[in-house]
Symmetry: C2
Amino acid sequence: MPAPLHVTFAAGPEGPWRIDRIDALCGATLEPAERLRVVEAASPKPVLAASWALCGVTSNPRYTQRAELDGLAARQQGLRRPEASRAALIPIRKTESWWAMAQDERRAIFEEQSRHIAIGMDYLPAVARRLHHSRELAEPFDFLTWFEFAPEHETAFDTMLQRLRQTPEWRYIDREVDIRLSRA
Amino acid sequence: MPAPLHVTFAAGPEGPWRIDRIDALCGATLEPAERLRVVEAASPKPVLAASWALCGVTSNPRYTQRAELDGLAARQQGLRRPEASRAALIPIRKTESWWAMAQDERRAIFEEQSRHIAIGMDYLPAVARRLHHSRELAEPFDFLTWFEFAPEHETAFDTMLQRLRQTPEWRYIDREVDIRLSRA
């Protein structure tokens, strides 16, 4: 378990990732921008952005159980694979009713009812992902998930999102933006 | 579930709480100081402190189940009761092996083996508490727990700490400082 990593996604005229589109699925969108930089630091670090900047921090798993962690570890691959020239940044915010629930209630909706971990597993190792927590950083979203995949896996990635968005868990999401990116 | 509250515990020559003693139970201590201020804000806010400042943020429960939350809610009282003129600030840091565990493994140690919630329940409503998370804020501790109680309950509070410190959960704590405070 690496130490928490503070990550800023900074949109503006520069950065290695080209922003191909920004779609608001629910709630307010983010303003258009050309490029995205991903800045990593060991502690919270202000990053200037011409357009917008979203911050999150990696952390320990909050719902994943041992058998699930082992299953994920056996199949998942890391970020920055040379062939993974497509990415998605999906910021979401959950409702007050989600955060008012107890741990067992949230886990039941997250996995026993929605199969969030199981659905993600179906797309490993093609889709690499990293979750960033934002709720405790006074940010506009609760989570920022960053995905990387090769162009030929974008259709499968879209299918994964469709499946997740039909689950009971998604009834507790009141803001979601889908940002697609590519690099040369 | 209130929105996350950012709280800084700032030690120096001023503040409403007098620091009566600082005891390191495990790992490095904190330097002596006279007084403590507790500064609350909706977002991370730099606070100057002559001696030391520790920051944390309130969040949703990470282990507590519905029946336990209901049991706590039925008995607990809030901070700032007039009779609660004694306080304790107990910063702790957990080991890498704790953070490497899955959610079910940490929950099993926390409650099924250590009865952390059940032990705390035995001291309600006398001991009021608020937990602050620090690990994702690049702080020297992972958690800051703030307790308030009347002087006649300090012995019971000490017994509670003794019981908790004998549990399997405490094997995963590698830094703990016990700061006792009082106010007029």
